[in-house]
């Protein structure tokens, strides 16, 4: 199954991309996605402070991710 990952701001800058897809064999948690992501693109400083969203809704680190879901890692926001 395919998981889409979105990165922003300094995370995207470090990864040198805003979008990453990973192929996995079974449902998994956001925390596990975070580990697999860094295996693929390298360590991302500050990702442990990022907010987490699945399909545009905030979730816990334990949130479950299914085939086709979009997981976003959201660095501390600074709008306004």
């Amino acid at each position: 199954m395919m998981i889409n990952i979105l990165l922003f701001a300094n995370l995207a800058q470090q990864a040198e991309t805003e979008k990453v897809s990973i192929e996995v064999n079974s449902a998994l948690s956001v925390k596990e996605v975070r580990t697999l992501l860094q295996q693929k693109v390298g360590k991302l400083t500050g990702i442990e402070n990022a907010l987490l969203a699945v399909n545009e809704e905030y979730v816990e680190l334990t949130g479950q991710v299914k085939d086709g879901d979009t997981v976003a890692f959201i660095p501390p926001v600074s709008g306004g």
Binding site: L6, F8, A9, N10, Q13, V30, E48, N49, A50, L51, L52, A53, E56, E57, Y58, V59, E60, L61, G63, A72, I74, P75, P76, V77, S78, G79, G80
Partner: protein, 153 residues
């Protein structure tokens, strides 16, 4: 006009205000965030805002719903600009109308504080001596649970 909007175009304050005018509103509190040149000793040349656009619009709408729960007669509209902004450009315009003024002030202030907590928008400062992605504005907050307070359903 869309009441909750992330846009690359310059913000027209009056459009935002017009979308909250109501016959039983006696007060409209508008908050406009503009690009400031000096922050302490640092001089900003220009800013760049980036957003997770569809989610950011949903979070703006969520702020509007939170306001309506707290101040049931309030009508809210929020536009946030992204892209490159120059000094004095408008980054955000919030308008809240209510029957009485106290609620309008409180609700618009609530809106700007909430934007800085839950809306996925990021600011990159381009100073005269370098550039920097700004984290949350206190520079201190971390999210051990993976999300700001009270945003997980």
């Amino acid at each position: 006009m869309k009441k909750y909007k992330i846009t690359t175009e310059p913000i027209n304050n009056q459009d935002v205000i017009d979308s909250v005018v109501h016959q039983n509103a006696g007060a409209i509190s508008v908050f406009i965030g503009t690009v400031r040149e000096m922050t302490g000793q640092k001089q900003t040349k220009f800013l760049h805002y980036e957003a997770y656009v569809p989610m950011a619009e949903k979070q703006l709408e969520r702020i509007g719903m939170e306001i309506q729960e707290k101040w049931p007669s309030a009508i809210t509209a929020i536009s946030h600009r992204i892209g490159t902004l120059q000094i004095s450009d408008i980054a955000v315009a919030i308008a809240v109308s209510t029957p009485h003024r106290q609620d309008a002030f409180e609700a618009s202030r609530y809106a700007i504080e909430r934007i800085k907590e839950i809306v996925p928008i990021w600011k990159k400062e381009h100073y005269t001596d370098g550039e920097e992605w700004i984290g949350n504005q206190q520079g201190t907050k971390t999210y051990p649970a993976g999300h700001p307070e009270e945003v997980v359903k």
